[in-house]
Symmetry: C2
Subunit: 425 residues, 2 copies
């Protein structure tokens, strides 16, 4: 029965019962981490052949005969750019290979725009006064953190289930100090939503007041489907090619959730002009990325079919965890009218909206019971969820057996926090 319809007496009884169950759970001294989108050990095992992908110095030659054990080849291993280009449906000239971290490429891209300006002779952002970025919410805390550290103001924009509210976006980009927007267009972190064709078309056709406005398009989960009815994302580069917005989009990709997290290969994807411009700047920064790891990846990943098959093996491990989470939410939380959760076709997260005003309390109760969630509020700029209702659930890392314990604990904490809140009123 919905708590909001209970008599105060029934609610008191429910609260007492929940508290008793919570005490029992605490007594179990659990220690489970569901805070981050971290692949589990079984997933890591899918890529262990990477360790042996280069078996001798003879394997250290690229297809063009370059010995990648030495300096040089600043653009990296071209067979890997070609593979990424195929996976992402762009040309190799649109790919800039990086090191092990797409987050680092995003950070560097923001810093270069601040220090030197974007391609097209605009003033460096540091010389343009206060700069702002749009942040569809709930979103990825590490995107927001980059802006926060760089003194860029964060303006939240609502997500609709089909991407950001484009009426809101189109209104806000009339302000020339708005220089960017953070997007995770497929299986958005944490809602799991994929931007609809209309949303992508409207983004591609935007008319920002700032000529150096940039879309940061994080393809973190672009081939990370969980089931046989995956979402489809329009290729924004097809839409902007040849238009005035051709240089507006910086996309980012990495193999962190394909091979080894934090030891994969990242890439930036953008217009040929933007890529050339970025390469010129990066030449001041480094001699080249680690080409050994690039070639290792090219040899291990082989071709697009191999990668797609590998992603199916990841899905086979992840899907039962997502299913268990959703099933458990359905079982324990369906009768609470104020609770909602997503059931995505891919990505790494389930977004859980609890009773407004209780998300922080739920996270605290979970923590005390030994189940660590992403801190409440983290999915909003400045850690400030105005409704205090969103929690990001990361089902990937714990085992199924651990999930069977942890998810009911989350449900218990959601109910307990709601009952506490309603009893106070």
């Amino acid at each position: 029965m919905s708590y909001t319809k209970m008599t105060s007496e029934a609610l008191r009884a429910e609260l007492a019962s929940l508290r008793e169950r919570y005490r029992d759970v605490c007594a179990q001294n659990l220690s489970l981490d569901m805070s981050r989108g971290k692949p589990c050990t079984e997933q890591l095992g899918l890529s262990d052949e990477l360790l042996f992908a280069l078996k001798s110095k003879d394997d250290c030659l690229t297809a063009s005969g370059f010995d990648i054990r030495n300096y040089g080849l600043p653009d990296g291993v071209s067979e890997l750019s070609a593979l990424f280009a195929e996976l992402l449906n762009v040309s190799a000239e649109n790919i800039l290979l990086g090191g092990n971290s797409s987050l680092n490429m995003m950070y560097d891209t923001v810093c270069r725009a601040i220090l030197f300006g974007t391609y097209g002779n605009c003033l460096p952002w540091k010389d343009q006064g206060k700069i702002k970025f749009l942040c569809p919410v709930p979103g990825y805390d590490r995107h927001f953190s980059i802006c926060k550290r760089c003194g860029i103001d964060l303006i939240p924009v609502s997500l609709t289930g089909e991407g950001p509210d484009m009426d809101e976006v189109e209104e806000k980009i009339k302000d020339p100090s708005v220089k960017g927007i953070w997007c995770v267009p497929k299986y958005s972190n944490p809602t799991g939503e994929t931007y609809s064709d209309e949303t992508v078309r409207r983004i591609a056709a935007m008319h920002p007041a700032a000529p150096d406005f940039r879309v940061f398009w994080d393809l973190a989960y672009i081939i990370h489907d969980l089931d046989d009815t995956p979402d489809r994302l329009l290729n924004i580069f097809d839409l902007i090619k040849g238009t005035e917005n051709e240089n507006m989009v910086y996309a980012f990709f990495s193999t962190s959730k394909i091979t080894y997290p934090g030891a994969g290969i990242a890439a930036m994807v953008s217009s040929a002009e933007n890529i050339r411009h970025a390469k010129q700047d990066i030449a001041y920064q480094t001699i080249s990325p680690d080409k050994i790891n690039q070639l290792r990846h090219a040899k291990f990943l082989k071709n697009a079919d191999f990668v797609r098959d590998l992603m199916k093996q990841h899905a086979a491990i992840l899907k039962p965890k997502f299913d268990l989470t959703v099933r458990t939410f359905e079982r324990y939380l369906s009768d609470l009218s104020f609770v909602r959760w997503t059931n995505p076709h891919g990505g790494y997260f389930i977004s859980l909206d609890v009773m407004p005003g209780t998300a922080k309390r739920v996270a605290q109760l979970c923590k005390q019971a030994g189940v660590t969630l992403t801190p409440a509020g983290a999915t909003f700029p400045y850690g400030d969820d105005p409704q205090d209702q969103n929690l990001r659930i990361a089902p990937s890392y714990p085992s199924l057996a651990e999930m069977e314990i942890a998810v009911p604990v989350i449900c218990l904490c959601v109910k307990l926090a709601a009952a506490e809140k309603l009893s106070e009123q």
Copy 2:
């Protein structure tokens, strides 16, 4: 006979003879690259066991049991920091492990100072007006390029054979807009000189007007001795510890010329406070460096004795190339009073001073004859060698057989350019 003492007739004859020999050399269609401090293929082979250092997933655990195939451990593999600390005679708390490029760590350190300021609550450099760096010359072009790209003015300071002219340095740091100095204190690039004890002591005891003055101390060749009488460099961290200058030095190190160039592990070395401060900022930038490559290095390099033995193997390959170069210079250039070269005990370069006003011409003649040198002027800020006399010779990459051809060509071009110049006068 010295050209400057020749009659004009003798000089004309010499010029004609040099030109004929030069034509013969050009007809050989050589193609030899001596432009960069690039290890040769034989040196790369010394580290091929790196490829197999992690043989299975069981090898992917750190000493503390952390599975480095997954996210986490932002400080990196502690057994590798411990090894670097031992090699560099500092504590592990003074080491910040990075990715594959020490140049990138220098670039990032400069950018962080510009955007956010240095440790100690100073204003970001971007908010302090014009910023300047001191550049001991001749020096490393990539150091200068970082400043140039970041809009930092470069002020040349003379090297004395024992490091920078400290009278000049002590005078120039009275200007509070002077925020830094680039130093390669051991086997300086390109002169090969090592800073004397007195120079290091004076650097450690400087009183810069800028409270956020920083010494960029590039330990690129710190254990890269060529012979049994290596230079010794005072440990500047011992000197500044506990003084007001404790946070003044950022040192940089990498295994690029120990294991694989461009696929090694870089590190920053600084005060514990600076390292903590840098780690806080880097947390916005990346989740962690590539720990797989770090652990691979820790397992391959084993301990400080193994590394020192490996460096002896490098020296055994490099020394004959340095000897051949110096011997050839002695043979062909000794009678030219205006020509000087260094004969270093380590590092990757020989610095060659040719007749003033002819360095560019020598490099051009070499290039036309198929021997590529570092561009003349590259060792000076803005590529501007005021005397047009310094050339950086990099003997490491070509084989001994190639060197036997290339170095006499360089000598021929040095003489030809000098004879041309003197004939014009």
